[in-house]
């Protein structure tokens, strides 16, 4: 179960907003995390707490295919991203590195600071602050498995290599 505070973002948050290209000279999670969302929400990495949740509108993660973007978000301690929709490569990359991403058409109803609870296994999001509950289409078991195991490579290790 994921439990944390919502951080709100708008439409079309691109991978440059998430982590600017000038910081891509490293693949270190901590170094990338230090600059996460820096241009659109200065100080985000200082304010966010482990387990918090990013909530955005449409087309989150559009732009380049850089896997560094979900790595930076995960590196900040963000436990999940909820959005009305995701750009397709960002969605793949997130799941592959073990960052839960959830499509929720009612994402606009969530405000910054709302306390959220996300149950990935049962496909339920609870907005504790607003006393509202939403269901979302659960990932199939193997995708839940990937996320639970910390990403695609870890999952492959367990399932296919031993």
């Amino acid at each position: 179960m994921i439990k944390g505070k919502a951080w709100k973002f708008g439409d079309n948050i691109n991978t440059d907003d998430i982590i600017a290209a000038r910081y891509l000279n490293t693949i270190d999670e901590k170094q990338l995390a230090a600059h996460c969302m820096e241009t659109i929400m200065p100080g985000f990495t200082m304010k966010v707490s482990k387990g918090d949740i990013i909530v955005a509108e449409t087309n989150f993660g559009c732009g380049s295919s850089r896997e560094h973007a979900p790595v930076a978000i995960k590196g900040c301690g963000v436990a999940a991203v909820i959005a009305k929709g995701f750009a397709r490569i960002f969605l793949r990359n997130s799941i592959n590195i073990g960052l839960p991403v959830i499509e929720l058409p009612q994402a606009s109803e969530i405000n910054e600071g709302d306390e959220l609870e996300v149950d990935l296994e049962n496909g339920v999001i609870k907005n504790i602050t607003k006393q509202k509950s939403y269901t979302f289409t659960k990932y199939p078991e193997f995708l839940q498995d990937i996320i639970k195991n910390g990403g695609l490579i870890e999952w492959v290790k367990i399932k296919h290599i031993k």
Binding site: N59, C62, S65, E67, A87, R88, I89, L91, R92, N93, I95, N96, I97, T137, Y139, P140, F142, L143, I146, G151, L152, I153, V156, K157, K159, H160, I161
Partner: protein, 416 residues
């Protein structure tokens, strides 16, 4: 189901799939190049893998910075070469290598109904033979090299219906540039673009490759064309026997249907810095160019070279323009020599590059300096794509690129 849904269902062990559904699919071919492959190999090793799922279904194509432009690129290719040797996967050495998306179909590695993934965004090219093919990240490719599987969300399909006769010089490039101009660079984000209609039924394979190649420039997951007699003839040439009955069902569900009257489309040019900035070539008559690039996975096939040569025959490249011709594969290069096309190019003052992606991504073999302008038959004109951040790329078909190289400015081929 649509043709895309049918291929995905078959490779996922299901009778039916629907858009939005997550599936795990078996792949028929896994591709990586000299830029993305080394990263995949790192992940492969991180996973502790000791073997690949099927050496015959993995292809490593060092085409981007080859023949190696510097020490770093030589090290990257060494990494691919070493991995290929160790795991006995397909690897194309210099002398055999060509641009991946021209090479694989030519090698008979892409078939109707196949499920193909590649660590290169233009992997969508193989939709032209009726395959489902899409680009992914390096980690996905590493995983597929180990397991032979990939996870996927079934895309909704948009049906594009092209009808009517093509105007002079209007080819696959013009149709796709026009289409991207109409729907935008995210107009098919996440979706499948299915190209249909009598215009497509009469379109050559090379033109079909060009169209499917640029599906990604509208954000699409894949582009696809139902295999037909034209596909069959092509497959016969490359020694592939395959099922050609694969079609979308009459009652297939499309998210939308977009009808395009081809007779109204004139030769297109896309201005910097988006492929969607496409307009009639006549609207660009005052744009001076420094360079023309004719090649790439989009337009480096033999018919593209023939089209360029038909314009350049007996002409001279403008004295202030560099015209770079890049046959996409060795076979295409050899054919161009046999047909006398290379003679036409050299006589006109062009330079011929070995097969490489090279200048398309600002790698080598024709990088632009500050303020320079190139017309190119490539696929992207993003900021700094061909070199300096303040350089400019205009996308066009081979005839326009050739004519512009002669005139020194962007021009309709009939006006030189």
């Amino acid at each position: 189901m649509t043709i895309t849904e049918k291929i995905i269902a078959k490779h996922s062990g299901k009778d039916k799939v629907s858009p939005g559904e997550f599936v795990e699919s078996n792949v028929d071919l896994v591709l990586a190049n000299d830029i993305t492959g080394p990263l995949s190999i790192n992940e492969f090793e991180k996973a502790g893998a000791t073997k690949v799922f099927d050496p015959d279904k993995i292809v490593l194509v060092p085409d981007h910075f080859t023949p190696c432009k510097d020490i770093q690129s030589a090290e990257l290719v060494k990494r691919l070469r070493g991995f290929a040797k160790k795991y006995k996967v397909r690897f194309y050495e210099i002398g055999k290598v060509g641009i991946e998306h021209a090479l694989l179909p030519e090698e008979g590695l892409t078939r109707p109904g196949d499920f193909i993934i590649g660590a290169d965004s233009h992997t969508c090219t193989y939709g032209a033979v009726g395959a489902f093919s899409t680009g992914m990240g390096s980690t996905d490719i590493a995983s597929a090299m180990i397991t032979g599987k990939v996870w996927l969300k079934v895309p909704p399909s948009i049906k594009f219906v092209y009808t009517g006769k093509r105007n002079k010089y209007v080819g696959g490039k013009d149709l796709i540039l026009y289409t991207i101009g109409k729907i935008g660079v995210d107009g098919a984000n996440y979706k499948s673009m299915e190209f249909t209609g009598d215009t497509i039924q009469n379109l050559s394979m090379d033109n079909r490759f060009t169209m499917c190649n640029m599906a990604i420039e509208a954000g699409a997951k894949n582009g696809i064309i139902e295999p037909d007699e034209i596909t069959a003839l092509y497959l016969e040439e490359v020694g592939v026997t395959s099922d050609l009955t694969l079609k979308s069902d009459e009652d297939a569900v499309y998210e939308s249907v977009i009808e395009i009257d081809v007779s109204k489309i004139m030769p297109q040019v896309a201005a910097p810095h988006l492929p969607s900035n496409s307009k009639n070539v006549d609207e660009f008559s005052d744009v001076k160019i420094d360079q023309a690039v004719i090649g790439s996975c989009t337009n480096g096939r033999i018919s593209d070279l023939r089209r360029a040569a038909s314009i350049l025959n007996g002409q001279t490249i403008h004295h202030e323009v560099r015209c770079i011709i890049i046959p996409a594969t060795q076979k295409i290069y050899q054919q161009a020599v046999k047909e006398g096309l290379v003679d036409v190019f050299i006589s006109a003052g062009c330079v011929i590059s070995p097969p490489t992606c090279g200048p398309c991504l600002g790698g080598h073999m024709g990088v632009l300096g500050e303020g320079e302008v190139s017309i190119a038959t490539t696929n992207r004109n993003f900021i700094g794509r061909m070199g300096h951040p303040k350089s400019y790329v205009y996308l066009a078909n081979p005839e326009i690129a050739a004519a512009s190289a002669v005139k020194g400015k962007i021009i309709h081929p009939d006006k030189i």
